[in-house]
């Protein structure tokens, strides 16, 4: 077991899979000579050469499509988006081509490709660079979507994504890359579609994914001081979503709070709530609450930016609300 940063765990995953399988390659902006805009690909160009670590021009639509084409004929590209905000320029290639090739061809084609990069607020970057796309990509059949919170899950899910025969979208986080955590030595594959109970509890379920996990841990530690034992379920995958794990934790605690960084309107959390209300209604002792980013564009000013994002106090308030401890 070694402690390492999230970015180092991703780097290990890439290096291991590229060494194991010569069809795996990495392409994107600044992935080579610059060692990655967030240093995820550090050292890979020197080790694997310029055909396998490809520095692209700033042409997101073009290089995402080139990745899809390569995947259609046997390669296994990993396409790095410098941030997911830039993938809006390439979304046609991801959702209209990669996600639909199997279907349009009646099962003749497969498209084993990974699109990965940071999503969410990076810190003081204003509205064009601070967005979550959870619900955008997980809305579509034909792709898988993962959003790991910890270095261990980041490594294990990226390796699984690279080996998967389907297109996989992976959301990382600018503010996750420097986070440290334990990563087991040796081969590590985290299955796509499996959530994990990261903290056991019996009083309330907090369901989350990606960076919000850390605020949920803070909130749970505070709540424990007041005798409330919260269970934290980290979804890790958004499509397929681990419905069984969601229902299990709700049946155990009878109360749930869903926490996400993105906007409330049609957010991914709404899908989690719908699963709970339609399949575990009789187990609920209180309506499910959501904690989300505020329904506004992200601002640059520090105080505005902080106010927009969920944090531990807002999670604590929601938990107390579903436990009828305080007036909402």
């Amino acid at each position: 077991m070694a402690e390492m940063m999230y970015r180092e765990a991703l780097n290990q995953a890439l290096a291991e899979e590229m060494a194991r399988d010569a069809n795996v390659l990495l392409m994107g902006e600044e992935v080579g000579l610059y060692d990655g805009a967030f240093k995820v690909s550090n050292g890979l160009l020197t080790r694997f050469g310029s055909a396998r670590v490809v520095d692209t021009p700033i042409s997101e639509l073009g290089f995402c499509g080139i990745g899809v084409g390569a995947a259609m004929v046997g390669l296994r590209p990993v396409v790095e988006l410098m941030t997911w905000n830039f993938a809006l320029l390439a979304i046609d290639q991801i959702l209209n081509n990669a996600a639909k090739l199997r279907h349009m061809s009646g099962g003749q084609l497969r498209c084993p490709i990974v699109f990965r990069g940071p999503a969410g607020a990076g810190g003081r970057l204003s509205s064009q660079h601070s967005q979550e796309f959870d619900v955008v990509y997980s809305h579509f059949p034909g792709i898988k979507v993962v959003a790991p919170a910890t270095p261990r899950d980041a490594k294990g899910l990226l390796k699984s994504a690279i080996r998967d025969d389907n297109p996989v979208v992976m959301f990382e986080g600018e503010r996750l890359y420097a986070i440290k955590g334990e990563v087991p030595d040796g081969e590590l594959l985290v299955p796509i579609g499996k959530a994990e109970v990261k903290r056991e509890g019996r009083d309330v379920s907090i369901i989350t994914w990606s960076r919000m996990y850390y605020f949920c841990e803070q909130a749970a530690a505070e709540l424990e001081k007041e005798g409330i034992r919260a269970e934290i379920l980290d979804l890790r995958s958004l499509r397929p979503m681990d419905e069984e794990a969601i229902l299990n934790t709700v049946k155990k605690t009878n109360r749930a709070v869903v926490v996400e960084e993105g906007w409330p309107h049609g957010g991914f959390g709404a899908q989690v709530v719908d699963t709970i209300q339609s399949k575990a209604f009789d187990y609920l002792d209180a309506p499910v609450r959501r904690v989300t980013g505020l329904d506004v564009n992200m601002s640059y000013a520090a105080n505005l930016e902080n106010a927009i994002q969920p944090d531990a106090p807002r999670i604590i308030q929601a938990v107390k609300n579903v436990m009828y401890r305080e007036e909402a």
Partner: protein, 367 residues
């Protein structure tokens, strides 16, 4: 143009062009009968482009196009009945009726599809050519697209990368002069599309797309260069569609005279006359080909009519590949015949020797 093209080749080109013409005429008719729905973009008038290009390249070169794709599948020897069944939305179609007119795929014949978003296939083609370079095989990729696609960002972004990375891809623009109802020159600062190639340090050529022999000769030359020099080439084939953009389009934006003018320049009678003049074949032999084609198309309609609708169970497959799930081989599934299927080296067999960038450029400056 001389008669350097072998007799057999000329007759094959004649047969394929007539096949596409008759197939499309009957498809239009079946649309009128309500057996085909949705968008149905006919290739009538443009036959010389795909047929000349396919006959000038290898059958295992990767190929893809936009949504006006029936002719491309047929030129690559797809089963005409299975193409028609796809248009009918039947289980005997290449995609089990899931794709329809715009999404024909025949992977057995290295035809990687028809794409419904204008220009969306242009980067895919570069990616397939990237894979050929990466594996150091000598296959090239043929990518067809319409004139309107040359105004998409995907065209410009991809040509830049394909040229810079020296990808073996041959881009063939089928300039039929209209993007739906908008004449290309009405919306294009530079309406001679082949002139856009030098901006990306590429060879650009223009050819009369109504003359299959000229298309054949030029594509043969360009494909040879793409294969040997590993660089992309852009060819603009000037052509014309006799029908509207799709079956839903009465094409009121062009004059009767203009259409008539192109009909006088029809590529099929033109090739027929050339063949007769060259004495490559006689009237009788060409008539026999016409009759055979008619039978193939009649049979294609019968085949499609008899093919059942897909089962509702089909809704739940072909979206996500499950572990261990093989790819569907259409002729094997529908006709029960054994087929060869494209295969590529595994990641354990493959040794990548290609340097995409010269080593000195892709190394860190020190000091």
């Amino acid at each position: 143009m001389g008669s350097a093209i072998p007799r057999e080749k000329l007759l094959t080109m004649y047969r394929k062009m007539v096949l596409i013409r008759r197939f499309e005429e009957r498809a239009g008719q079946q649309y009128g009968l309500g057996k085909i729905a949705g968008f149905c973009h006919l290739y009538i008038g443009q036959e010389a482009v795909v047929v000349g290009a396919v006959e000038a390249t290898r059958p295992d070169d990767f190929m893809l196009t936009g949504y006006r794709d029936h002719g491309h599948a047929l030129a690559r020897d797809a089963h005409a009945g299975m193409v028609m069944a796809e248009l009918f939305g039947r289980t005997g179609g290449y995609s089990k009726g899931k794709g329809g007119s715009m999404h024909l795929f025949d992977i057995e014949h290295y035809f990687y599809g028809g794409y419904g978003i204008v220009g969306g296939q242009i980067p895919l083609a570069a990616g397939m050519a990237f894979a050929s370079r990466y594996r150091n095989d000598d296959r090239i990729t043929l990518c067809f697209f319409g004139d309107a696609a040359a105004n998409q960002g995907s065209f410009h972004e991809t040509l830049n990368m394909a040229s810079k990375w020296k990808l073996p891809v041959l881009y063939i623009c089928e300039n039929n002069r209209y993007g739906m109802g908008t004449a290309f020159e009405r919306v294009s600062a530079e309406s001679e599309i082949y002139k856009r190639a030098p901006a990306y340090d590429m060879r650009g050529e223009v050819v009369d797309g109504m003359d299959v022999r000229e298309v054949y000769e030029l594509i043969k030359d360009c494909a040879g260069e793409v294969r040997s020099k590993k660089k992309p080439v852009l060819v603009e084939a000037r052509t014309y569609r006799y029908r509207g953009h799709s079956m839903a389009d009465p094409a009121t934006y062009r004059t009767k005279g203009e259409v008539e003018q192109y009909r006088h320049n029809d590529p099929i009678p033109k090739l027929r006359e050339q063949i007769l003049k060259d004495k490559s074949a006689g009237e009788q032999e060409l008539d026999r080909i016409d009759a055979e084609v008619k039978k193939v198309v009649d049979e294609a309609i019968r085949f499609a009519d008899q093919s059942p609708e897909p089962s509702l169970d089909e809704l739940w497959v072909d979206t996500i590949v499950e572990p261990g799930e093989p790819d569907v081989r259409p002729r094997e599934r529908v006709l029960g015949v054994q087929v060869d299927w494209p295969s590529f080296p595994s990641g354990q067999e493959l040794k990548v020797t290609w340097e995409l960038e010269p080593k000195e450029k892709a190394t860190k400056k020190t000091g």
